[in-house]
């Protein structure tokens, strides 16, 4: 990870060089690591998409082979879900949650570093095989028995099974960390109903992770045992049940969709009020609808399985449950528009992306309701119509929201603005490219084009739509390159930003940009949902419930009344104890990945070497963990 000296770092005297990044336990630096790593994987996943679309530009092309194509689409899905959108959200969780709730770090800073390193190394584990032509090739959904040893015998799906297990550790550790952080480390007066909406949505997401990931972990364990130790959970010749996998996968897989989208909803809920100069419309309903989405999200998994023949009763129940989830989602859309309505709107790039999310996610939401009806869905499922749908949700929704977040928080993170001019180019190219890529897929799908095919015959009526989709993908590439250029250029030479460049309402804007390593010199007393507006534009927050000046009730000796910190001092000067940097979380993560790699060696048939690798990795992990647990935090 590079560290340019031109950027004011958090504590330039102590924190620089590669070593400081590997050993950091600062939630902000870990957030930045997440951001960079995820953007790197975005490039990887994007190039995979580009190859996929190039292959499909015309009928009967052979840009890549069938086998390569199957690896590409498997890895495109796996990469974008597990290595891009989730970690990009994690970047914001890390960076923002402590700042938004007025804390000096997350609850477990070293566990936080551990989560990141497991993600980074696990990501390499699952990504590298594609350069050797042995990448996972059973789809990101890994349907049994194709993912099992009989029909998927190579190393390919080994990397997938083990890789997802590794990544699951990262997500679970992070989720527990953030739940504890949000519950325990809120500043005095920061009640749950005063939390910024991004923190609220993140809070919901952490519970989704904690409840959904164990299910995929169990499912993967079965598959792992099938693949390596001869069990028959999914092995059909021995009477195994492939539907078991599907149910388990989607019990995880559907909440996963909300794990991907809710953080973006949270970011947009920060951007829209700021640039509308109006508080979020219906804060309570926004929070409750998020919880509702999370709750209902666990009751709709089988709508991915309408074609497997579950019978009319199950079909009906899952159909109606799926329709219901449209309600809390729809409420969010209307509340966002109502937030803007009557406001005083300003349109920096972040606002454009936020509005872009509303406009594009609506399309994905409507087509989502369309799939909720099995008779109609049976004509749509596993066609390009579905591909269109979930890309409107994940690109038009999650990615738009994340870009909004990046443009919005870049000044906070770096102390510099991103270029608005380049940002506008990126936004519009993105907007056009996204629609040009994914809108025609609605047509090709409804006109009969199946998903996951590496080639198609001429004369099927799909040629034009595919060509459009491919052209759109190249536009998205250009937009991506502009973003990358803007990002790296602005880091070095963007216009300097003040601590509160947008006039935003929440706590993270009350401290310098970039924030000092201790975040808050004095933990603020929170008396409102919009503390910064209380300070700067009191008329704006006058009538809001949960914004009463009850400072008198807060009896915390260390807390200071709400204020803006502009001075930059070191933690030492302030006498704030900071956690020590440590390499141990990285070592534990390394040990875990080495241990899992032993399974690959086992598949090679080199039993002694495999045992040595696994035991070696295991012992290394336990030893590092012991050293970690016995060394003081600060």
């Amino acid at each position: 990870m590079e560290t340019s000296s031109a950027i004011p770092t958090h504590d330039a005297s102590e924190q620089s060089g590669i070593w400081s990044w590997i050993t950091t336990v600062d939630h902000k630096r870990i957030g930045i690591l997440y951001l960079y790593t995820a953007l790197f994987y975005l490039l990887v996943g994007g190039l995979e998409a580009l190859l996929i679309r190039t292959q499909l530009a015309k009928p009967n092309l052979s840009v890549v082979s069938a086998e390569t194509y199957n690896q590409l689409f498997t890895m495109h899905g796996t990469t974008m879900v597990f290595l891009v959108v989730m970690p990009l959200s994690a970047a914001f969780f890390n960076y923002l949650i402590p700042l938004q709730i007025g804390a000096r770090d997350v609850a477990f800073p070293r566990l936080n570093a551990f989560s990141y390193w497991v993600y980074a190394l696990g990501g390499l584990f699952i990504t590298l095989p594609i350069f050797f032509g042995i990448a996972p090739n059973g789809g990101w959904f890994g349907y049994a028995p194709l993912s099992g040893p009989t029909f998927g015998g190579g190393f390919n799906m080994d990397f997938w099974v083990l890789g997802l297990q590794i990544l699951g550790i990262s997500s679970l550790a992070a989720a527990f960390n953030f739940i504890t952080t949000i519950i325990n480390l809120r500043a005095p007066g920061m009640t749950l109903m005063r939390m910024p909406m991004f923190t609220w949505m993140s809070f919901v997401v952490q519970f989704l992770v904690v409840l959904a990931f164990p299910v995929i972990t169990a499912a993967l364990f079965f598959l792992q045992f099938d693949r390596f130790f001869g069990t028959n959970f999914y092995e059909v010749q021995a009477g195994g049940d492939p539907l078991l996998w599907q149910h388990l996968f989607w019990v995880f897989g559907h909440p996963e969709v909300y794990i991907l989208i809710l953080p973006a909803f949270g970011l947009v809920s920060e951007v829209l009020p700021t640039h509308s100069r109006k508080p979020l419309f219906g804060y309570n309903v926004m929070a409750y609808s998020g919880i509702m989405i999370g709750f209902l999200g666990f009751g709709v998994w089988a709508h991915h399985m309408f074609a497997v023949g579950m019978g009319p009763v199950a079909d009906s129940i899952f159909s109606v449950a799926t329709m219901l989830i449209g309600l809390p989602t729809g409420v969010k859309i209307f509340n966002w528009i109502a937030t803007m309505y009557g406001g005083s709107l300003r349109f920096p790039v972040s606002m454009k992306f936020a509005i872009g999310l509303i406009a594009m996610f609506t399309i994905g939401g409507i087509s989502g309701v369309m799939h909720s009806s099995p008779p109609s869905d049976l004509q749509q499922t596993d066609t390009y119509f579905i591909v269109a749908h979930f890309h409107y949700v994940l690109y038009g929704g999650a990615m738009m929201g994340i870009f909004a977040g990046i443009y919005h928080y870049f000044p906070k993170i770096t102390g510099r603005f991103m270029s608005e001019r380049l940002g506008n180019w990126q936004f519009w190219l993105n907007f056009i490219g996204l629609n040009l890529t994914f809108f025609p897929m609605h047509f090709s799908g409804m006109l009969g084009m199946p998903r996951r095919i590496y080639t198609y015959d001429a004369g099927q009526g799909w040629d034009l739509f595919n060509l459009m989709s491919t052209a759109g993908t190249y536009l998205l590439l250009v937009a991506g390159l502009i973003f990358a250029y803007n990002f790296f250029k602005s880091r070095v030479s963007g216009a300097p930003a003040s601590s509160d460049p947008w006039g935003a309402p929440t706590l993270e804007w009350s401290i310098p940009s970039p924030p000092p390593d201790y975040n808050f010199a004095q933990i603020p007393e929170v008396t409102s949902r919009y503390p910064m507006w209380d300070l700067k534009a009191p008329d704006r927050t006058a009538g809001i419930e949960h914004s009463h000046a009850d400072a008198a009730d807060i009896a915390d000796a260390h807390a200071a009344p709400m204020h803006e910190e502009t001075e930059r001092r070191t933690a030492k000067e302030l006498g704030i104890p900071m956690p020590f940097n440590t390499i141990k979380p990285f070592l534990v993560a390394l040990g875990i990945v080495v241990m899992f790699s032993g399974m690959i060696v086992l598949h090679m048939g080199k039993f002694p070497l495999a045992m040595a690798t696994m035991l070696g990795g295991g012992v290394f992990m336990v030893a590092s963990l012991y050293a970690w647990l016995t060394s003081p935090l600060e």
Binding site: P145, G239, V285, S344, R346, P375, I432, L436, A458, L464
Partner: protein
């Protein structure tokens, strides 16, 4: 700065959308899911139409509100500070209730249609067993003792009840023009039924596997021919006979002959290895298939051919008898083990329909395509296929047979001792194409 961008970009976006709409309205869409060809698709299209209408209303309302808000409330220098509204319970209840009401209009027909579609099929329905293989389709008509592959014949006006199974991984059976899909799940039998409407004219329709099933998932296609009831009967009468040139066929013909001449009191038993389903008829019924000249362009595959060379002169001189001898003589099993994986009804079979790795070839010569809808069934393509199938269809279980050809599956060249030369392949092609 940024303000002008919208105006610059909007026309482009509008133009693109208009172009798309235009493209979607004109043109020829042979796999459209909007064809009301069966009662199953009537239900799907009905619900789709309603969803499209309601969805469009929601879309327009949301986007108009959004665009209106963007333009109406853009910040003006010196404009008044916005009125601070933090929520409005009545409004929020309204925009929850209206979508809820919309969903009722969707849920009621949905549940009704689900139960309608999943009733038991009518008792007199034509039963068709669909068996998925990596990567081809086996179709059986148990009522008639017919087993065929990759080409499905359905009588217009009669309900057809498919029972769906798979021999290996999961697949999904789909004929977009006739109705929704149903997965083929290992260790489970699934069903789907529909009735091609009386009013349909005979047609060739494309079908495909739509559940990702490995290397050649994209190459697991099939053809469906919806034909008149009379034509279907003709097709059945012919398809249920044994293969031309097989001992069983010879015996049947001889029996019929002698029956005509001597009228023996005892019916002659046919000498087939596999029992012939129908009693020997006096004459072999005329082969009837969907006429080749009526095949629409979209049903004729244009899959690219490999670079494999083949001498056309040899093909013209192909000898069906020699080809049959090559396949049927156990002495040739080492070189031409075709019959260990394929079944030809009436011949010496080493495989049965239940364990055959490849398609049943009994009336192969009557099929328009092979390789699961990938290739035209002509002599040259077939020769290239036998020479090196894996080079034409990734992952193909059928090995490379041509001497000197490179087998991409095992990454080896076929040695002269183990392979077939072009002359032999031409003979086999001639035999297979004679299987009318």
């Amino acid at each position: 700065m940024p303000k002008l961008h919208l105006r610059r970009v909007a026309p482009v976006a509008v133009l693109a959308l208009a172009l798309l709409a235009l493209a979607a309205c004109g043109g020829d869409y042979p796999n459209s899911t909007f064809s009301k060809n069966t009662e199953l698709n009537d239900g799907a299209v009905f619900i789709w139409d309603r969803m499209m209408l309601l969805g469009t209303i929601v879309f327009v309302v949301v986007e108009v509100l959004l665009v209106y808000t963007i333009f109406k409330f853009r910040r003006r220098e010196g404009g008044p500070a916005p009125r601070q509204i933090h929520g409005n319970a009545a409004l929020e209840i309204t925009w929850t209730a209206i979508p809820a009401l919309i969903l009722v209009f969707l849920a009621v027909p949905t549940v009704r249609t689900i139960f309608e579609n999943q009733r038991k099929a009518p008792a007199n329905a034509l039963q068709v067993e669909v068996i998925g293989h990596q990567w081809w389709w086996e179709f059986r008509y148990p009522e008639y003792g017919i087993t065929t592959a990759n080409e499905l014949y359905l009588p217009i006006g009669r309900t057809v009840n498919f029972s769906l199974r798979t021999r290996d991984v999961l697949h999904s059976f789909w004929i977009p023009q006739l109705g929704g899909k149903r997965d083929l799940i290992a260790n489970k039998v699934n069903y789907i039924w529909f009735t091609p409407k009386e009013t349909l004219s005979p047609a060739a329709l494309n079908g495909a596997c739509v559940e990702y099933c490995g290397a050649s998932h994209a190459n697991m296609r099939f053809r469906t021919f919806t034909v008149t009831a009379a034509d279907f009967d003709k097709w059945v009468a012919h398809q249920k006979t044994v293969a031309i040139g097989s001992p069983a066929a010879g015996a049947a013909a001889a029996a019929a002959d002698s029956a005509a001449k001597a009228k023996p009191a005892v019916p002659v038993k046919t000498a087939s290895i596999i029992p012939v389903a129908a009693p020997a008829e006096p004459t072999v019924p005329e082969a009837w298939v969907f006429p080749a000249d009526k095949l629409p362009a979209y049903a004729i595959p244009s899959t690219p051919m490999p670079a494999t060379a083949f001498d056309d002169a040899l093909l013209a001189a192909g000898d069906a008898k020699a080809g049959r001898e090559l396949l049927m003589n156990p002495a040739n099993l080492g070189k031409a083990p075709c019959m260990t994986c394929h079944v030809v009804k009436g011949e010496t079979n080493y495989a049965t329909d239940d364990n055959a790795k490849g398609p049943n070839l009994t009336h192969f010569g009557t099929r328009h395509t092979f390789g699961a809808g990938l290739f035209r069934n002509d002599a040259r393509t077939l020769a290239l296929w036998i020479k090196n199938a894996p080079a034409m269809k990734p992952g193909s279980v059928m090995p490379t047979f041509g001497v000197g050809e490179f087998n991409p599956m095992i990454k080896q060249q076929v040695p002269a001792a183990a392979g077939l030369d072009d002359k032999q392949i031409a003979d086999i092609v001639a035999y297979l194409r004679s299987l009318k």
